[in-house]
């Protein structure tokens, strides 16, 4: 069968390295093996996958090796979703997986670009909008337009070439832009080659493709996405008016901060010069005046106290000494001496008197006992040679005798001796 249209579900899809695709087309009742050679497969916008429902145009022949019928596919269209959408989603998913959209890969834009490359069609609203806007906002930048095909079969390659060419030169910003159009018109910007060229650019890229509602893969990969070409130019450069304004602000700001700094320092200085030690330097020595005065006063007081104490002590001692004069002692001693003297006089006199009395008494007794008192009565004592004669036998006739009498002595001679009996008796 030749040139048949078949609708079914893909299964067992195998994409050979050669680009040939082998699969089975099935429906609820039957299964049909199929092949799509690479020459035909290239035209398919999307990548065939199992489970997809597709509409196939081709020929059915017997495959000799197996003897089975096989569908030889000429073209394949997805049933339901459009081919473009499918392709867009599939590429977006793939590149996202690779990390091409990662914020980490986004390059920074210089604040004051000197050179700007614009990759776009050399004619048309887009390039004009970009140039006018750049000139109006920031005439200091040099703009180089890279004329590029942005539509049609050559567009993908042209865009990739322009981006790569710009990367050979020294630009600060690259704007990739195109005016609005249908999805087919903008399709180049969804091509993987363009996406990779943008990704590989060392110059930061602003993309501005189609209108604000259009979103391309290029927009995802670029470092900055502008909704329109005019917006891209505005994002690429600062505004002159704003810059002049900012300069003005800087000038007044610098003046203000410097003046403030001076004022602040002035206040600090003022604070220091009016601080106690500097403003009232008399406080540096005044407390000492009082201290010295106090010490001097204490010195006087204490010295006089010491002196007065010494004087009082001396006066006391002097008074005590005066009371200890030996004068009273002398007087007392004199009295004692006088008494002793009187006493000794008395005693001496007494001694004489006592002895006199004793003597007088003895003499009186002696007198009373005197043997001479017997002779008063007529007795006499006869001595012979001073011996008292008591017996006649002591005497011989002719002896000379002395007879003591009361009133004198008689000297006699013995004439005769007469012996009496009494005398004899006495003798014997």
């Amino acid at each position: 069968m030749r040139d048949v249209y078949v609708k079914g579900e893909l299964s067992n899809v195998k994409i050979h390295t050669s680009g040939h695709i082998y699969f089975t087309l099935k429906d609820d009742a039957s299964r049909l093996p199929a092949v799509m050679f690479s020459a035909n497969a290239k035209a398919v916008k999307f990548k065939p996958e199992s489970g997809m429902t597709v509409l196939i145009r081709g020929d059915v022949n017997v495959y000799e090796a197996s003897g089975q019928y096989q569908l030889y596919t000429q073209s394949m269209q997805s049933d339901g979703i459009g081919d473009y959408y499918l392709a867009f989603e599939q590429l977006k998913e793939k590149l996202a997986k690779e990390g091409l959209f990662n914020a980490a890969h986004k390059k920074a834009f210089p604040r004051f670009p000197k050179r700007i490359a614009v990759v776009t069609a050399p004619t048309g609203a887009a390039v004009r909008d970009i140039c006018i806007t750049l000139n109006r906002r920031y005439p200091l930048a040099h703009v180089v337009i890279y004329p590029t095909l942005v539509q049609g079969a050559q567009a993908t390659q042209s865009i990739v070439q322009s981006i790569q060419a710009a990367n050979q030169k020294d630009y600060d910003v690259l704007i990739v832009g195109r005016g609005g159009g249908s999805i087919e018109d903008l399709w180049s910007f969804n091509e993987e080659a363009v996406a990779r060229a943008i990704y590989q650019s060392r110059i930061p890229i602003i993309s501005a493709i189609g209108h604000e509602t259009d979103t391309t893969i290029a927009d995802f990969v670029s470092d900055l996405r502008a909704p329109t070409p005019t917006a891209a130019a505005e994002l690429a450069v600062p505004s002159k008016a704003e810059l002049l304004d900012r300069l003005l602000n800087y000038r007044s700001g610098m003046y203000r901060t410097t003046a403030n700094a001076i004022a602040r320092e002035k206040a600090s200085l003022e604070r220091l010069t009016t601080s106690f030690p500097l403003a009232y330097p008399d406080r540096l020595y005044r407390p000492f005046i009082e201290r010295v005065e106090r010490a001097t006063e204490s010195l006087r007081r204490e010295t006089f106290q010491q002196f007065n104490y010494a004087r009082e002590r001396y006066k006391n001692l002097d008074k005590q000494l005066a009371t200890r004069t030996p004068e009273s002692r002398i007087r007392q001693s004199a009295l004692e001496l006088d008494a002793l003297k009187k006493r000794i006089d008395q005693l001496a006199a007494l001694a004489v008197r006592d002895n006199t009395q004793q003597l007088t008494s003895a003499m009186r007794t002696l007198d009373a006992l005197s043997p001479l008192k017997i002779m008063d009565r007529g007795y006499s004592i006869t001595y012979k040679d001073d011996k008292v004669i008591k017996s006649v036998e002591q005497v011989e006739a002719g002896d000379r005798l002395s007879i003591s009498m009361k009133d004198g002595v008689l000297k006699t001679t013995v004439s005769e001796r007469i012996l009496t009996s009494e005398g004899e008796r006495q003798d014997g």
């Binding site: 703009v143 337009i145 300069l247 410097t258």
Partner: protein, 77 residues
């Protein structure tokens, strides 16, 4: 003379650095004055450069060469 040769972006960046330093406030007095003077000079340079640059230089890359473009004309081509 040297000032004339400085690039606008360098001048702006130096100026902004000076503004930043002055705003931080811990700059010694003498240096603050020096910075202020330098800042005023840079400000003038930037201002002059902006004010003097009246028209954008636009060229077109054709066969590896930059070709001047009259924008109105160029866009008309």
């Amino acid at each position: 003379m040297a000032e004339k040769e400085i690039m606008f972006n360098q001048a702006m960046e130096q100026l902004e650095e000076i503004v930043r330093q002055l705003e931080q406030g811990d700059v010694p007095l003498e240096e603050a004055l020096t910075l202020y003077q330098k800042g005023m000079e840079l400000s003038k340079v930037c201002h002059d450069k902006l004010q003097n640059a009246e028209k954008q230089l636009v060229t077109m890359m054709q066969e590896g060469k930059e070709v001047p473009v009259n924008l109105e004309d160029g866009s008309a081509k």
